[in-house]
Symmetry: none
Subunit: 426 residues, 2 copies
């Protein structure tokens, strides 16, 4: 049997409040805690201020079974998480010889002379609390059991040191506490559809699914649907997810490019490898972005041959053979230019398929086209298809959408799915 | 005179608690709020649960003057920040025709048929609250003044949409609220030096500078030094910053590529425009990443002509003229190959300068080179220079470092600065 364990994550550090660093520790911990079936209901971040740290810990312990604190365990004066825990427990600090020896040995190993007296602060532990000897870095962690049954873990803020203590000590303890339950999730990703349309298609499933549950996440040019189940075993959780995942994927249809949380570039490289076909790119608008994404996938070199980034009209003509008539007529942001660029890249690189991307990224119009105007094309032995639309948003977003659209042409062609129409014919 | 304004940032979204994404919005907002003199004392993250969102907002408003909420303003059922604000204010929801028209126009522009009814939720505003029409995306923001004088801003969770509303509406309002005091900062950015070396060079300045203050921030392949001053006027703050900025930049020397927080690609494009020279790239290792970065700069097309992404040995030979002897001998990860690639790109694109990037990104060795092995080269009429080293870390990091190194060759050449030696000769 499993029991419900509610956890809260508290990040300590003024550098987090000032935005000098992002709280990536909370992200990592949230992911790992969810995976073992611990419910994370709140994160907090508080600065290096004793009163506010104590207040944050009290609040956390009032609503969670387990509180995980990161940061403030270093050797300097602004590292005061130890003091906050002692104040919370209303106990004095006790110096531990075992930690002191470890600190002295470790410092001697650096060959930097006498250890600063400050460092000994790390040998102090609130009376009654346990400590975790570090295997990376020098800051011991703390484990305190509160009189009312809550538990507090304090870890260093350095990500590698936090991860080491979580994996070696804390996650195993919490798994015991949860007793057996596991959480598994599967992510279905779609391209060429909006989040609101996805929500409409899945509205009844969303409303009725508690375990497994559904969640949506939209990011530039794609929508993710995550299905999460909590069960006694991995097999049980997977068995609960499978029928819902099938239902979701079937309803969404051909906009789904993965049922297994791949990126679009991973899905495209995988499909190319399966089909044994090679690909090249011709990029203007995106300046190499589509190629950079494809080559970010390990093993891309077996199917991706190369790209011509042709940022000027002359480069489009000289390198890819775009005709003077096209350049002078419909212009470089046009169906004709996209098709000639794709054909040129396929010829130059000698590939089975080639895609092209041209357009006006903004903020200024380009060759008569308003910012956001995009043309992408695919060419192969039996296929020549172009798609145009006007994308909203920033230069960065227009480029990202173009990459999604062009990669989607490859995916659809390889899977034998119909191409979508123009988002907005131009 | 300025007044103290305490702010709190509340992130709404179960995806943040589950660790599916990091709370980078809080980092960005914390940085910008600090920069205008607003004190950020807490961050909170809460899931898509009405009761807990309301409770989190109440807590924030009990201890801060201004609460900034991100997330939960989308069109789906789990977007409930609007409802939480209405509950907090104890007012009903009112539908706004202006927002409804905007949503219908925007959806019609996509050419995806009828707008889902769900989307109209975004036209609902708690009675008495103001709204912020979005310039990116479709989710309006909210501004609510509480009876006791507190103020709440709610923004979409999509970073670009949040940033747009913060910069256009919210930060200016908060600057007014803070009144006279201004905080200004200047960021000096360096490439080709480590953070600990920077800290060593600036140690005495760091220890003695309170206002203006110094902070370091290291990210892949560069180190930023930020100098921040708080004063009655912008001119006063700038006058406080100027001598310290000069001292810092002089001490760091030729690794500084900007004193004004430009990206390296912006600095390179600016220098090319100033010198009237054109550039092309030949990319293997980075697969188009260097070109994508250069073309992310508006106006790059006046100096950047194009790139050849040559991911196979045959493409290097056929498109850029890398010799069979080089391919068979030292191989495609070599000084010779980098120099021939740069020469080839310069010839093919007819540019004044060309850079090349080749190497083994990992995780597997490539053509006999261990993962991380990198060669970058620059060729021009009077220059042919190659640099090789072995970079540590992931595929992504190796590629990023290579881009930094190659762009730095252009920067140094244009500024007449000596090229650095190999980081680690190979």
């Amino acid at each position: 049997m499993s029991r419900t364990v509610r956890a809260e994550i508290v990040g300590v550090g003024t550098e987090l409040l000032l935005g000098q660093i992002a709280n990536t520790n909370a992200r990592w911990m949230g992911e790992r805690l969810s995976a073992i079936g611990v419910d994370v209901l709140h994160h907090q971040v508080v600065g290096d201020n004793l009163g506010r740290i104590v207040e944050a810990l009290r609040l956390s312990l009032s609503r969670a079974d387990v509180v995980l604190v990161t940061g403030g365990l270093g050797p300097t004066e602004d590292d005061i998480t130890r003091d906050a825990v002692a104040e919370l427990l209303e106990v004095p600090m006790a110096r531990h010889d075992e930690i002191e020896r470890f600190l002295r040995d470790r410092f001697a190993g650096f060959g930097r002379g006498e250890m600063p007296a400050n460092n000994l602060r790390q040998a102090d532990v609130p009376r009654g609390a346990r400590f975790i000897m570090p295997e990376i870095g020098s800051a011991p962690g703390l484990i305190a059991d509160l009189p009312d049954g809550g538990r507090l873990y304090a870890m260093p803020g350095v990500p590698a040191e936090m991860v080491e203590m979580m994996e070696r000590v804390i996650l195993p303890e919490l798994e015991d506490l949860v007793g057996g339950a596991v959480v598994r999730s599967r992510t279905i990703r779609c391209v060429g559809i909006g989040e609101s349309r996805v929500a409409e298609i899945l509205a009844d499933l969303f409303a009725t699914s508690m375990n497994p549950s559904l969640a949506y996440l939209a990011s530039d040019g794609e929508v993710k649907v995550r299905i999460t189940a909590k069960a006694a075993t991995v097999d049980d959780a997977e068995a609960m997810i499978a029928p819902l995942a099938s239902d979701v994927a079937d309803r969404l249809g051909d906009v789904v490019f993965t049922r297994d949380d791949e990126s679009l570039e991973q899905a495209v490289i995988r499909s190319l490898r399966t089909s044994g076909l090679t690909l090249a790119c011709a990029e203007s608008l995106t300046g190499g972005g589509a190629s950079a994404r494809l080559t970010s996938v390990p093993g891309a070199s077996t199917v991706f041959v190369g790209a011509a980034v042709v940022y000027t009209a002359a480069a489009k003509r000289d390198i890819l053979g775009v005709s003077d008539a096209t350049i002078a007529g419909p212009g470089v942001v046009s169906r004709e230019c996209a098709l000639e660029m794709a054909a040129g890249a396929r010829r130059v690189f000698g590939t089975d398929l080639a895609i092209s991307l041209t357009g006006a990224a903004g903020p200024e119009p380009h060759d008569g086209a308003v910012p956001g105007t995009t043309w992408v094309a695919l060419e192969g032995e039996h296929v020549a298809h172009a798609r145009g639309y006007v994308a909203p948003g920033s230069r960065e977003r227009v480029r990202r959408w173009a990459e999604q659209s062009a990669l989607d042409l490859v995916r659809r062609h390889l899977a034998g799915i119909a191409f979508p129409g123009s988002d907005r014919p131009i």
